[in-house]
C-alpha cells in the first residue's frame, strides 16, 4: 500500500522552484508596477501554493475524491473573498445623483472615485 512514491529529485526540483519564486516575489516588490504589484505578488503566491499542494501534498497523485475535497476548500475561499470584494472593490465605480463618489470610500481622504490603491497616489511617499 505504498501509494505513489515520487523520486527525491522531484522534491528537490519543487523546492528549488519555490525558492526561485520567493526570490522573484521579493525582487518584484521593489519594482513599481503601479496597481499591478498586488496582483503579481498574489499570483506568485498562488503558483507556490499550487506547487506545494500538487507535489508536496501529493494531490496530483490522489484519488478523484481527494482532489474534489482539495478543490472544495478553494471553491469556498473564492466565494468568501470574491463575492465580498464584488461589493467593496466596486463602490468607487458608482456615482450617485448628488455627485458624491462611492459611499464606501468616504473614509478615504484622497481620490475618492478611483479604486486604485492610495500607495500609488502622489501623496504616498512620506
Amino acid at each position: 500500500m505504498a501509494g505513489h512514491i515520487s523520486p527525491k529529485s522531484s522534491y528537490y526540483a519543487i523546492f528549488s522552484a519555490l525558492m526561485v519564486l520567493t526570490g522573484v516575489t521579493v525582487a518584484v516588490a521593489f519594482v513599481n508596477l503601479g496597481s499591478c504589484n498586488f496582483p503579481v505578488a498574489i499570483g506568485i503566491a498562488i503558483t507556490k501554493a499550487t506547487l506545494v499542494i500538487l507535489f508536496f501534498m501529493h494531490a496530483k497523485y490522489s484519488s478523484q475524491l481527494t482532489k474534489l475535497f482539495v478543490g472544495t476548500a478553494f471553491f469556498f475561499l473564492v466565494i468568501l473573498l470574491g463575492l465580498s470584494l464584488t461589493d467593496y472593490l466596486t463602490r468607487g465605480l458608482r456615482t450617485y445623483p448628488g455627485g458624491a463618489g462611492g459611499a464606501g470610500y468616504g473614509v478615504r481622504s484622497a481620490a475618492p472615485a478611483t479604486p486604485a490603491r492610495g500607495g500609488a497616489s502622489p501623496g504616498a511617499a512620506h
Partner: protein, 231 residues
C-alpha cells in the same frame, strides 16, 4: 512484523489481517484514503478559518491604503524572506520524511522529521525576535501603541491584523511541532512500514498547509506596498 501479525491473528481467532488495519475498513488502502480525506476535510475548515482573516485584511486594505503602505514598511523584509525560505525548507524535509516512511527507511524518517522540527523551531525563534522588535517600537496594538503621522488609527488596525494572522499561524506551528514530536517518536519505535505510514502522510498534509498560509502572509504583510515608496 510477522510476529505481531501472528499474535494479533491469534487474539482474533480465525481471521488474520494487518495489525494496523481497523475493523471497520476492508483494506489498508481504504483506511489510508479515509484518513487522507478526513485531514483534507479539516484543512477545508482551516482554509476558511484563515480566509476570514484574509478577508478582513483585504477590506481594511481597501479602506486604508495609505496606512497599509506605511505600516507594512515597518516590517523587516529580510527576516520575513528568511522565514519564508526556512518554512519552505521544512516542507521539503517533511516531504522527504513521508517518502522515507513510504520506502521503509525508519532511520531516515526520524532524521527528516527532526530536521523539519528544527526548521520549524528556527521559524518561531525568528518570529520571536520580530515580535520583540514590535514591542520595542510600540507597534503592539493597545494603550502604548504609537505610530508617527496621521494614520496612527488605521495603522493600529494593520498591526492588530498582523499579530492576529501571524499569531494564529505561529500557534499552528507550535501544534505542528507537537504533532511532529509524536510522529518522530513513533518512527523511532519503528511503528511505520511501507504498508502503513498514514500518520506521517496525514500530519505532513497539516505541516504543508501551515507552510501555504505563510506563503500568502509573507507578500500580504511584508511586501504589500513597498514598491511605491521607492518610485
Amino acid at each position: 512484523m510477522s510476529d505481531a501479525l501472528a499474535a494479533h491473528a491469534g487474539a482474533h481467532g480465525a481471521h488474520a489481517h494487518h495489525p494496523d488495519l481497523q475493523h471497520h475498513f476492508d483494506t489498508l488502502e481504504q483506511q489510508h484514503e479515509a484518513a487522507t480525506l478526513g485531514m483534507w476535510l479539516f484543512l477545508i475548515t482551516e482554509v476558511l478559518f484563515f480566509g476570514g482573516l484574509f478577508l478582513a485584511y483585504m477590506l481594511y486594505r481597501i479602506w486604508y491604503p495609505q496606512a497599509w503602505a506605511e505600516a507594512s514598511l515597518e516590517l523587516d523584509i529580510v527576516l520575513g524572506a528568511v522565514n519564508t525560505a526556512v518554512l519552505i525548507g521544512s516542507s521539503l524535509t517533511m516531504a522527504l520524511a513521508v517518502r522515507a516512511a513510504q520506502t521503509g527507511q525508519q532511520r531516515a524518517t526520524v532524521v527528516w522529521i527532526l530536521l523539519t522540527m528544527a526548521l520549524g523551531l528556527t521559524f518561531l525563534v525568528i518570529k520571536y525576535f520580530e515580535y520583540a522588535e514590535k514591542f520595542e517600537h510600540h507597534h503592539v496594538p493597545g494603550p502604548t501603541f504609537h505610530f508617527e503621522g496621521p494614520n496612527a488609527g488605521p495603522a493600529q488596525i494593520y498591526f492588530s491584523l498582523y499579530f492576529l494572522m501571524t499569531g494564529l499561524h505561529a500557534t499552528h506551528m507550535l501544534i505542528g511541532f507537537g504533532i511532529m514530536a509524536v510522529i518522530a517518536w513513533m518512527a523511532h519505535k519503528k511503528r511505520f512500514t511501507p504498508e502503513w505510514y498514514t500518520p506521517v502522510e496525514v500530519s505532513g498534509l497539516y505541516w504543508h498547509f501551515v507552510d501555504i498560509v505563510w506563503i500568502f502572509l509573507f507578500p500580504l504583510l511584508y511586501l504589500a506596498d513597498r514598491a511605491h515608496h521607492f518610485a
